[in-house]
Structure formats: structure tokens, C-alpha cells
Symmetry: C2
Subunit: 268 residues, 2 copies
């Protein structure tokens, strides 16, 4: 029995979905709307006390942390091997997955939250928002929700995260062995990096483009052709649909002061 609790095909949830699809494994998919705080509901916190997705449940064993889940899945299940057969290759792979977790993902995540959270919570009054936040188990996550809703981050912080994202892409460009990150084998390094890259050629066209990072762009195209990737990307992502609805509402309200969102207290 294999179950994945996730937020749909984006970021760390995409990271955990990809190996399952690449290996063609059957699993029960539980999709949560992360922008409506479903991962902090009491029923889910019973499964993962940190209130974070993705979570893999395999025969009753609960696994957290997408990078850890992916090594477990590759060690445990048949299908295409996603780690190099030699210890040195696995070490090189882990330098990449670690780099994503410690450097690339945090920078990209702060930028994404800054762009997204205020709009996502526009229907909540400050008191309603605070009630949602207070259910979040991890202090660092509570801080991140509050700070991104209030948009307190300085232009210097935003610039620094953007610099880190740019540095991450350049590190990929220089390290790309081709056709996959480590060479001829598709591995969890590709999985981790692609989970961050998804959508970047559109949203960060000044950073990911044919001129500045041609090898990354070509790799991205190859990734998009993989049947496992296509299958993962076809899974619903309720937080994105929810965000798009909120963005439309926000756009429609522009120039209509009477339609000021309830969370105006968050406005800078």
C-alpha cells in the first residue's frame, strides 16, 4: 500500500511525484490545497507533526522530506533506477540534491511566497488569517506566512534571493554533463532540479533563457518530453487553480476601491 500526500506538481511535491511516475508505481494520491492551509489541518498534522507535504506512507511507515523520500523510493521499488550504480556517482548526485535543498529551493521559495501569499489570503480578515497561522506547527513556517502576507521583506532581501536563483542556474549550466545533469543516466539530481525549474523559463525568462543558460534550457526541453514528467505534470494542483482565481479577483477589483480585499491590513 503506497500513498502520497502532496500539493500537486510543483516544488517539493513535484519532487516526490516524479520518481513514482518515472517508475510507474501505483499509489493513492491525496492532493492538498496548500494555499488554503490544508496541510495544517489536525487530521494531517497527525500524519506529519510538522504540517508539511509531501508525505509518503508505505505499508504504514510514514516518510517525510522529499529528498529522503526519493532515495527511499529508489532503494525500495523496482522500475528505472534513479541513482548511479557506483558510490562516487551517488555522492555527486547528493551534492546536487543537497544544493537544491539548502540554497536553490529556499531562495526560490521566498520569492514565490512574496509574489503569491498576499493575493492568496486576500479573502481572509487579519484575524482569520492569524487563526490559520496559529495552527502551523513550525515557528519558521508561521513567520514565513506572516512576513509574506505583510510583505515585510526589503528590496535588498528580494534582490539577494534573486541573485541566489541566478547563481543556482549558472551552477547548473556549468555542471550540466548532458544529456542529464550527471551524464547519460537520468537521476534524482534531475528530479530535484527540475522540481525547482518547472515554469521558470516563463516566470524567470531573464534568468533561464537560451542565451544565458542554453544547456539548462535544452535539458528542460528534454525533461518535458519524458513520459514520467508528463504524467506527474498532469496531476491537479489545487493551490495553483485557487491562486489564479484570487489573482483574477484582484485584477477585477483594481480601480474599484469598494472591492478592497478584507486583508487590507497587510498592504504595505
Amino acid at each position: 500500500m503506497l500513498e502520497l500526500y502532496h500539493g500537486g506538481p510543483g516544488a517539493n511535491s513535484l519532487k516526490a511525484l516524479l520518481p513514482l511516475k518515472e517508475k510507474g508505481l501505483e499509489f493513492t494520491s491525496h492532493v492538498l490545497n496548500l494555499l488554503q492551509f490544508e496541510q495544517h489541518e489536525p487530521w494531517f498534522v497527525k500524519i506529519n507533526p510538522n504540517g508539511q507535504v509531501p508525505v509518503l506512507v508505505h505499508d504504514g511507515k510514514v516518510l517525510t522530506e522529499s529528498t529522503v523520500i526519493n532515495e527511499y523510493v529508489d532503494e525500495t521499488f523496482q522500475g528505472i533506477p534513479l541513482r548511479p550504480p557506483d558510490a562516487y556517482g551517488r555522492a555527486q548526485m547528493r551534492v546536487w540534491t543537497k544544493f537544491v535543498d539548502e540554497y536553490f529551493c529556499p531562495a526560490l521559495s521566498f520569492l514565490g511566497w512574496y509574489a503569491m501569499i498576499r493575493t492568496a489570503v486576500r479573502d481572509l480578515s487579519p484575524a482569520e488569517f492569524e487563526a490559520k497561522v496559529q495552527r502551523i506547527p513550525l515557528k519558521e513556517q508561521r513567520d514565513k506566512w506572516r512576513e509574506s502576507a505583510a510583505q515585510v521583506w526589503t528590496p535588498q532581501q528580494l534582490d539577494d534571493w534573486r541573485r541566489r536563483v541566478r547563481a543556482s542556474i549558472q551552477r547548473m549550466e556549468q555542471g550540466m554533463a548532458g544529456p542529464w545533469m550527471l551524464g547519460s543516466q537520468f537521476t534524482l539530481a534531475d528530479v530535484s532540479l527540475f522540481s525547482m525549474l518547472i515554469g521558470m523559463p516563463e516566470r524567470y525568462a531573464d534568468i533561464v533563457n537560451q542565451k544565458g543558460s542554453p544547456r539548462v534550457v535544452d535539458w528542460y526541453s528534454r525533461m518535458m518530453e519524458r513520459p514520467g514528467v508528463k504524467a506527474a505534470l498532469a496531476i491537479p494542483r489545487p493551490s495553483r487553480e485557487f491562486l489564479e482565481t484570487q489573482q483574477k479577483a484582484e485584477a477585477a477589483a483594481r480601480g474599484h476601491p469598494e472591492a478592497t480585499p478584507r486583508n487590507q491590513a497587510f498592504r504595505p
Copy 2:
């Protein structure tokens, strides 16, 4: 042929030393004085372009990142196994090693640098210090040296890192299966955690003590009795000896304005 470049038995260098000693492996030890910037010398940057220790060189293959090095060593060499035999056990181990790298170590490291760097560089004029810093390959490391020498971090930041260190110890206390972190087997989870804990019962007695974290204190005592741990701790740590010399000079200069250190420009 096995070589380790490291800073002696502390933090991430201790993390890489422990498995080599636990397995009883022969290796050539290259100790660098990290507080005299030896890891940024051109000869070392040729080995690791990031200018960071530890680095393991095995038959010409260069491995970086202590957590990655340790899995490589356990996969490659005979001796006591340092990872659980089952995939779920390895996943649990990796949740701990990841937690150390992403949460515990950064908080402890900022506190340590704040307490240490200004004193360590007291003999350098600002221009000499800046020349040293400009050789550091990673921008984040350059920032960390400059900020800790100038002690620009706010009491709020210091309090927050201290809170994270306290939270890390409490997480250990609650998660300790005993006698080792994961239960009956000594693993890389113990290695990673101990590399951070070393010296904490003395330096952070308000956080690590018999009353507040008895299981951690007992585990620490068991760790200190291991022959592999004793062997690793017996290795010289030139940065510590250097720091102690600088601390004595600083203490002797107190009340003697004529002995003001050259780096007075860093004083807040």
C-alpha cells in the same frame, strides 16, 4: 589512497573524521587552520573550488560536503556499518543528518562565529582582513566573515539562533530512541549530531544539561566513551589553539588602551 583535508575535530570536519576513525581506516590527514584562512589559499581552492573543508580524496576522486562524504565512506569501506540495513532506517537517519545541515548547524555556526571571529582576526588591520576575505570563493562566506568580524548581527538575530539551538536539543531529546539516536545501532545520525554537540555541555550548559535534556546528556557520555570518538578528538585542531592564543592576548590587553588590537575598526 585516502586523504582528508579538514580543520580538526570540530563541526563538519569532526563529522567527516568520525566515520574514518570508527571504521579504523588509514588515511593521510591534512589539517588546515580555518581561522587563518588556509582553506582559501589558492592550492586548496584548486582541490575544492568552494574553499571549504572537509574534502575527502579517494584514489584521485574528490568528495565534498561532510554528509555526502559520510554516506560515501560507509558505502565504500569495510568496518562497522554506519547506516541501518533497511531502507526505512536509512530514511530516518537521513531526516536527522538533513536536520543537522539545514537547521541545527547553521544556527550554532552563526553563534560560534559571532563569539569567535572578531577575536580571531584582531591582529589584522581592516585592509589585511578585507584582502583575506576577498579570496573567499563563496559570497555567502565572505558576508559571514565580514558580518561576524564587525558584529553587525542584532540581539534579535542572536536570540533567534539561540532559540533554534535550544529547539534542536529538544528535538533530539524527544527523538532519542536510545542507546543511540535511532536505537540499538550507532549510525551517521549520531555522527552528525555529535559533531554539533561536542563541547556544548560546557559552552551551552543552560541548554544541554541533566535537567533539561537528560537523554541527550547520557548519550553524549556514551559517545565520549567510544574509541573511534576518542581517536578523532585526539587529532590536533590548530584553529582552536590559535583562538585560545588570541583570547589570551585580548584578555591581557584589557585595561591597556595602548594594546588596542589593530582591527579596532571592527569594534561596535
